[in-house]
Every structure is written in C-alpha cells, then in structure tokens.
C-alpha cells in the first residue's frame, strides 16, 4: 500500500473524530442559538467519568459508556437549568459567555476530582486493530468511525425529518412564534442541552484515546471542530463532515509532506476558519 493511502486513511479517521466533536456543537447551536464553548469541557467530563466507571475493565465497556453519557447529560441539564435558562431571551453572545464560564468550571472541577496525573484512556477492544498494509487502525478507531457515521445520520434525520427536530429548529429561529404554536419551549431547551451533553460525552470517550485524556487536549480539539463547524456555518451537518474530513486529511498530508513546519496543523485550522468566514455570504455570517 502506498504511503499516500496510509496518510489518507489516518487523515480520514482524524476527520471523523473532529466531526464527532463538531456534531455536538452544531446540535446545541441549532437547538438554542448558542455557540457552546464549554463543549470540550463536557467531552472531557464524559471521558473522565468513563475511566472511573470502567475502572480498568472491571465493568463492561458499554455500561461505562452509557453511565458517562447519562452523567454528562445530567450535568449539562443542570447547567442549562441554572444558567443558560436565564438568558434565553437575550443576545446569544450572553449565552456564549456563560458557556465560557461553564468551560472554566468544568475544567477545574475535573482537575479537583480526578487530579493532575495523566491517565491512560482505555480503548474498546484493547490495543488490537485491523492491519491495512503497513498501517494498523485500532478496532477502537474503527468503532469510532462506525458510531460517528451512525450518529451523524441519526442526528441529521432527527433534525430534518422528525416532528421534534422541526420543533428544535423552529425554536432556534423564532422562539416566541414557536411558543405561540404550542411548542413547550422550556422542555425542549432542557432536552437540547441534555442531548448535547450526551453527544459531547460520547465524542470525548471515542476521541480521548487519540488525543490523550486531558482537559487541555479536549479543549484544543474543540478548536479544530469549530473550524469544521464554521464550514457548515454551524448549521449544516453534511458540510461540517466534509469540512472535518478535509481538515483531517489536510493535516495528515501536511505532516507527511511538511514535517519540519512546526504547528502546521494549527496553521491549517486557522486558514480553514479564515477561508470559511471570508467565503461565507455576508448575511450568513454569525452575529
């Protein structure tokens, strides 16, 4: 197998991971108009909670995964009820600033609960993997890709084709009108954040073996995810996936061809965001 194919596969897998993180950001943005900068924090919370429940394999992987998602969803729900709910009628920027506060609280709470010592993030199926030519793709990564694809489809279908999904979109577009149409907005607001939290946790658990289990790493990957999400203007799931895959592949190729340029991956992300913002039609650029 050619070197090119290998780096392409690595890039695509990385891209799916970025897309997984981006999906939660888009979901919350579409449901509440708020850019959730705390997303990386929720992802980290999910991953750390997973490690504790999994407890080096003493409990089943699926159980730990479920428990971590439920816990993160609950905490996201509490955050929504205490903080986000207070600013639903205000400028979405207020909401975004609140999520910055959430990120700070989550990051340092995780520091207090789980300590500063770096931990190993367990993978499903241990360290085994598929061999494609000279390249080993771990079964965990294969699973991440499969779950990712399933999740993109499910969320896309939910938002686009179900009654509840339409209600989500109606609320984020014209809250008062949605209310007048009889949509129970408070329940939906809570639902958006709880589901968003669960998606974040799932993404965190799937991504952390690759990025490393630290809050910094998961905050950092959020930047890439945001870059991908900006390509879809924080709304379009297909375009975000394309963007995420493109970023992943571009990074992988850059590492292959330009190994000496420090920070080539970050420069690429900045370039992608800049490009996405500059090429977007003016009226579509976020406030």
């Amino acid at each position: 197998m050619s070197e090119f194919t290998q780096f392409l596969i690595i890039g695509l897998v990385t891209g799916v991971l970025y897309a997984l993180i981006a999906l939660g950001i888009i979901f919350i943005y579409r449901g509440s108009n708020i850019v959730n900068f705390g997303h990386g924090g929720f992802a980290a919370l999910g991953a750390f909670a997973f490690v504790s429940v999994y407890d080096k394999g003493s409990r089943p992987y699926a159980l730990a995964l479920l428990a971590a998602c439920v816990l993160t969803a609950a905490i996201a729900g509490v955050a929504q009820q205490i903080a986000i709910r207070q600013v639903v009628d205000r400028d979405p920027i207020d909401g975004a600033v609140i999520t910055l506060g959430l990120l700070t609280i989550l990051t340092f709470s995780i520091g207090i609960v789980w300590g500063a010592t770096p931990r190993q993030m367990p993978q499903a199926f241990g360290s085994e993997g598929m061999t494609i030519g000279d390249l080993v793709v771990s079964y965990h990564q294969v699973m991440a890709v499969v779950i990712g694809v399933a999740l993109f489809t499910a969320v896309g279908f939910f938002l686009q084709a179900t009654r509840m999904g339409r209600a989500f979109r109606a609320i984020s577009e014209k809250r008062q009108v949605a209310q007048l149409m009889g949509i129970p907005t408070p329940a939906y607001d809570l639902g958006v954040w709880m589901l968003g939290g669960a998606i974040a946790a799932l993404a965190g658990i799937l991504v952390a073996p690759t990025t490393g289990l630290t809050t910094t790493a998961l905050t950092f990957i959020m930047v890439k995810a945001l870059a991908a999400a900006m390509i879809g203007q924080l709304v379009s799931i297909p375009r975000t996936i394309v963007g995420a895959l493109a970023i992943g592949v571009a990074e992988s190729m850059a590492i292959w061809k330009l190994p000496d340029v420090t920070g080539i991956r970050e420069i690429l992300a900045f370039a992608v965001i800049t490009g996405a913002l500059l090429l977007a039609p003016r009226e579509r650029v976020l406030a």
């Binding site: 207020d94 709470s109 913002l277």
Partner: protein, 664 residues
C-alpha cells in the same frame, strides 16, 4: 370578593398584626395590606398613612448609599495610591510578586476593554498575544536593549500581530470573531510557542536579565513593582485621554452602528483595525511586564485555555469601565494567591471565577467594574473635554451658518444618475433610470412600495454597486467610490431607520460627524496634546451651534437612545448636516411621524435648505410633505421612471394618479 369582605379582611389582618410586633412584619406584606385597604375605600386614611410610612422607609433604604461624593472619591483614591505605594514595604517579596502579576492582569484587562467594551469585538487569543510580547521582550533583552525599549518594542510587535489576527475578522463581530481568534490562539500554541528559536531553545529556555532603568538594575520584586506601576499608570492616563476625546468616540460610534459610522465618513474596518492594534499593544506590554516579573518563561503560560481564562477574568472584572481592568487584575493574581495561602487548591478560585462570570452575565453584565462604578457614583465614561456647560449661554458664532464646505456659488448639476439598472437574482429593481438634481433645489423621489426607491438610494450612497449605469456627483464619477468616502465628499444621507450612535450623547453624535477621523488621532489623543484638546473644544462649540440651529439644545448631553422618536430623527438629520454636505439625501424621513411632527420636520428641512444652502434629495411617502417642499419630483414605479416635473405637474399627471389611486 365584595367591598365589605375586603375591608373586613384587611381589618382583621391589621388587628392580627397589632398583636405581633408590627415593625417586624415583612414590608411587602404591609404594603400589600395597605393597598388592599385603599382599594376597598374603607380605612383609606389609615391605608394612606401606611403607604406613606412605607414610602418613607423605602426612601430611607435608598438614601442609605447613593454613591460616593466627590470628596469621598478623592479620599478613596488617595488611600488607594498610598496603599499601593507602601504595599511592597509591608509585605514580603512573594506578595509583592503577586501584586506584580495583578498589574500584568490589569493591563490585559485594559486590552479587553478596548476590544469588547469600546469596540464590540471579541478576542480569545489575548494570552497568545501576551506570550508573543513576553518572548519579544526576551529577545530584546538578549540583544542587550534596556527595559523601556523592550516594553515598547514588545507592544509594537504584538500590535502588528493583532492586526494580522484582526484583518480576516474585519467583517465579523461577536461569536465568529471569537472562533477566529480561538484558531489564532491555536496557531500560537502549535506554531509560535513551539518554535524553539522563538522560545530560546529547549535547554537554554527563555531567561531574562533583571530589568534595568537608567543604569539601575531592578533586581528585587519591590523595585520592579514600582516600575510596573508607573507603566500601568501611564496606560491608564492614556486610555482615559482617548476615552474623553474624538478617537474614543470613534470606537463607540462603530460599535453602536456601522452603517451610521459609514454615513459620517468613518471606515469601520479601519477603526476596528485600530482597536486591534491598540489592544494588541496593551497585550504586548502586559507580556513584557510578565516576562520581566518572572524572568523565566514557559510556553504553557500562554496556551489556548489560558486565553479563555483571561477572557473570563476580564469580563468578571468588567469591560465597560477602566476600573474593571484593575479589579480583573486583582482577581487574576490575588484570588488564587490568597486562597492557596489558606490551604485551598487554586482550582477552586477558577471554579469560583467561572461561577461569578455566569452570575454576573445573568445579574449584572457590567461586571465588578460596573458595580464599583455605581458604588462610587462614577459615569461609565469620564467627563468629556471642553466647556461642558458654558457654551450654551454664549451666543452661537455665525461661522458655521455662513459657509459650508460645498462651493455653492454657481447653480448647475449636482447629482446625475445615468441609465441605472440593478437586479437581484433575476428580479430587476431598477431599469434604465436616469435623474438629475440641480444645485440648490429640493428634489423628491416618490413611488409606491417596491418601486425601487430604496435601491436607488442604496446605489447613490454606495451600499451596492449597480449592474449598469453611473452616478456622478459634483462632476465626478463616483459609481465605484466607497460609501464612507462619498460621505467625506459632501454627499451625506440619513437611512430609513435611524442609525444613530445610541451609546453617545446628542452632542457627541454630531461631533463624530464634525471631525474627519485620522488614524494618528489616537496617538495625539492618548498623549493629550494641546492640539487635541483645542480640537475637542472647537468641535464641542460647533456641535453647540448645530444644536442651536436644530433646536435640540435641551437634549445636548442626553444619550441618543433615551430620546423620543421625533427628536432622534432630527438628530439624525442634523448629524448628516454636520458633515457640511452640498447634497443631503433622506430616505423616507417622515415615516412614523404624526402630522404635527411631519409639519415641524418639513419646516426644519426648509430652514436647512434656505439657511445653509443644502441641496435636498429625498425619498418620501407623505404626499403633503412632498408637495409643500419639492421644486422637482421624480416618480418611480416598478423600477422605471414614469413621470417627472414640478409638484403641480406631477400631481396632474394621469399616470401618477393611476399608480397612486388605481386605474379608475
């Protein structure tokens, strides 16, 4: 419940109260009872007495603290200055170091104030900028440059970096800009601070010599503390100067309304770049101070999460008031130090900071600085320069009334629109429209909804470039000239909806228009050069003259957003007049006015035209206003001119009657 019942119930409650100690009853409940009694019409006098007592009590509560008096403020300032001066002599070196960090935090807070508070921009890369400043200071130090040069140099280098960061974000505000700057912070982490040459190599590390000033090495924390304080004080004075002068107004103008800024001849992109540059300079200075305080740098001090944390602390401190920066600095350095000193993990401080950020956003978005300002009875912005009250009593000088910038000696063609066509996605809004405006005339453009009037307005003011045709003004082709440049060239306009600078006062709105902003204004303003002060005084005087002309004197120092609608309209037109236009273009100025206001407004337009020799072109619905004012009328329907002529001619034109009244 009928009246007797109600009266009885309130009677019973009152009796019940009398048995308990009446003074301990919840005041709200007392008020409620009193109201009930009043509504019942029984025991009214008693109820009223209770209400009066309640009112007195409430007033008493309010009177307890109405904010500090000027004397109290002076005493507080003096105490603060003395405390800050003797501080390093009462505490040990470690706590002096904490104070040094607080100064660094304050300067970072200032950089956020310029961006968020003044300009409505966001940056999540201030730690990155600060880091670039810190390492630049290290390179200056290694090259043997003295400390003041290193600080200035770091400021300038980071100002350039901030401009690079800001340029792609010029058309963005708010969240998109936040995401863009976050990506820039990522570049800092991955590329800039991972560059071994820049960070001094892995083995050597970035280690600085002690700062030296006039040949004296500031080895101890104590000596460097005073140097840092001096820097912070200088920055505070400079920013205060800017706030009080035209460049400060310019920032707020662009923040309040970009469209309004363009209409007054400002280039919003340029002003935003200035904000980025100034903010970057401050972050660079903060970085250099940080470098000389630590004297040993590590890249993780400037990582992406730190940028986010700095944003959090600065917003907690408050970005509307310079005091906010000092409080942000205090929280940034002292809160973790104090808490750690008590044996609690510093993580808790950050959790507390995050929680207070959320609380403040919900309860009081102005932050701690806003609370302090209220407590100290300080305005959000310092008092502006110049004779704030005196000018009103002085008779207006006739200078402004006598001449305008336009050369109106001759009559002739002022504006000509030639064969203009414009379509939007296949729908044509204007088809081959040509019209002319003669100098000194009052020309009107009328037409039913959707006729293309507003499209024409947008083409003439330069908001859209036409598909075909050209626009000439005072003999020059301006078809491709940028909108704000047209405003500088004596073509002035008001939008259909007010685009006033809501955060500025009426006088300040006019002052923005009266002054042609130059990028270097910010330097002369910061230093407070006498020329800048003189300019402020004369601008204020000119604004006063315009206020006299427009009979807006009573609103002079009121925030525009607090004014009634009719007055806002008048400010809008007066602001356009302040640009000394030869042509004033008004897009449906009388919309939303009642007949009385409209008549009054027509009077005002007539006076502007007669006294100041302004040529008027306006788009209007109100036929009475059109017919009473216009010398010449153009009628537009479905993107085409269907009639033109004097008011009387147009009124008699059968096609116009068809369009307006429907075919009989």
């Amino acid at each position: 419940m009928n009246r007797t019942d109600e009266a009885e119930s309130s009677e019973r409650t009152s009796v019940g109260e009398a048995h308990r100690a009446p003074t301990q009853v919840n005041p709200l409940w007392r008020l409620f009872v009193a109201r009930q009694a009043m509504r019942g019409g029984v025991l009214a006098s008693r109820g009223q007495a209770m209400l009066a007592t309640e009112r007195r009590r409430r007033q008493g509560l309010q009177r307890r603290w109405e904010g500090a008096t000027p004397t109290q403020r002076r005493v507080l300032t003096a105490v603060a200055v003395v405390a800050a001066s003797v501080y390093p002599f009462i505490v040990d070196s470690v706590w002096t170091y904490v104070a040094l960090l607080a100064i660094v935090g304050s300067v970072i807070g200032l950089s956020f104030i310029v961006l968020i508070g003044w300009s409505g921009l966001v940056s999540f890369a201030q730690a990155t900028l600060m880091g670039i400043g810190a390492y630049t200071a290290f390179h200056f130090d290694r090259a043997g440059w003295p400390f003041p040069i290193a600080i200035l140099g770091s400021g300038l280098v980071v100002a350039a970096a901030a401009a690079i960061m800001g340029i792609p974000g010029l058309r963005l505000r708010g969240l998109s800009l936040g995401i863009l700057t976050l990506a820039f912070a990522g570049v800092g982490d991955g590329a800039v601070f991972a560059n071994r040459w820049f960070t001094g190599g892995v083995q050597a590390g970035a280690v600085l010599k002690p700062a030296s000033l006039f040949g004296i090495d500031l080895v101890t924390n104590r000596s460097f503390y005073y140097a840092s304080w001096a820097v912070l004080l200088l920055l505070l004075i400079a920013l205060r100067n800017i706030q009080r002068r035209s460049s400060g107004r310019t920032f707020l103008a662009v923040k309040s309304s970009e469209a309004g800024a363009i209409a007054t001849g400002l280039n919003p992109s340029g002003v935003k770049i200035e904000a980025f540059v100034l903010s970057g300079f401050l972050a660079g200075v903060a970085g250099a101070l940080f470098a000389y305080s630590l004297r040993s740098l590590a890249a993780y001090s400037f990582a992406v999460p730190v940028s986010l944390n700095l944003a959090v602390v600065s917003v907690v401190g408050g970005v509307n008031n310079l005091i906010g920066a000092l409080l942000a600095g205090f929280v940034y350095a002292f809160a973790p130090a104090l808490v750690t000193d008590w044996g609690i993990s510093g993580d808790w401080v950050w959790i507390g900071t995050g929680a207070s950020l959320i609380l403040l956003v919900i309860v009081n978005p102005t932050g701690l600085g806003g609370l302090a300002a209220r407590w100290l009875n300080l305005p959000d912005r310092p008092e502006p320069i110049g004779p704030v009250r005196s000018a009103r009593s002085a008779p207006p000088r006739a200078r402004l009334l006598e001449h305008t910038r336009s050369d109106l000696s001759g009559r002739g063609l002022l504006l000509s629109v030639d064969a203009l066509s414009q379509s939007f996605g296949g729908v044509s809004a204007l088809r081959d429209v040509s019209l002319e405006v003669q100098r000194g005339s009052i020309t009107t453009l009328i037409g039913p909804n959707g006729a293309g009037k507003s499209t024409l307005f947008r083409v003439v003011t330069g908001q859209i470039k036409p598909d075909h045709g050209r626009v000439a003004f005072a003999g020059n082709d301006i078809t491709t000239v940028a909108s704000h440049k047209r405003a500088q060239r004596a073509l002035s306009w008001t939008y259909q909806s007010n685009q006033l600078f809501g955060e500025l006062t009426v006088a300040e709105n006019l002052m923005v228009a009266l002054h042609r902003h130059r990028p270097w204004d910010i330097l002369t303003d910061a230093v407070g050069l006498p020329a800048s002060t003189r300019r402020e005084r004369s601008l204020r005087q000119e604004a006063d003259e315009l206020l006299e002309l427009s009979q807006l004197g009573a609103f002079r120092d009121r925030r525009v957003s607090d004014l009634p609608f009719g007055a806002q309209r008048r400010v809008d037109v007066t602001r356009a007049v302040a640009l000394r236009p030869s042509l004033l273009l008004l897009d449906e100025p009388a919309t939303g006015m009642n007949p009385e206001e409209t008549a009054d407004f027509g009077e005002y337009l007539r006076r502007l035209h007669d006294d100041r020799d302004v040529t008027l072109l306006f788009i209007e619905h109100d036929m009475e206003l059109v017919m009473s004012l216009s010398d010449y009328v153009y009628v537009l329907d479905f993107g085409q001119l269907i009639a033109e002529g004097t008011a009387a001619q147009v009124r008699a034109n059968p096609r116009v009657i068809d369009v307006y009244l429907g075919k009989g």
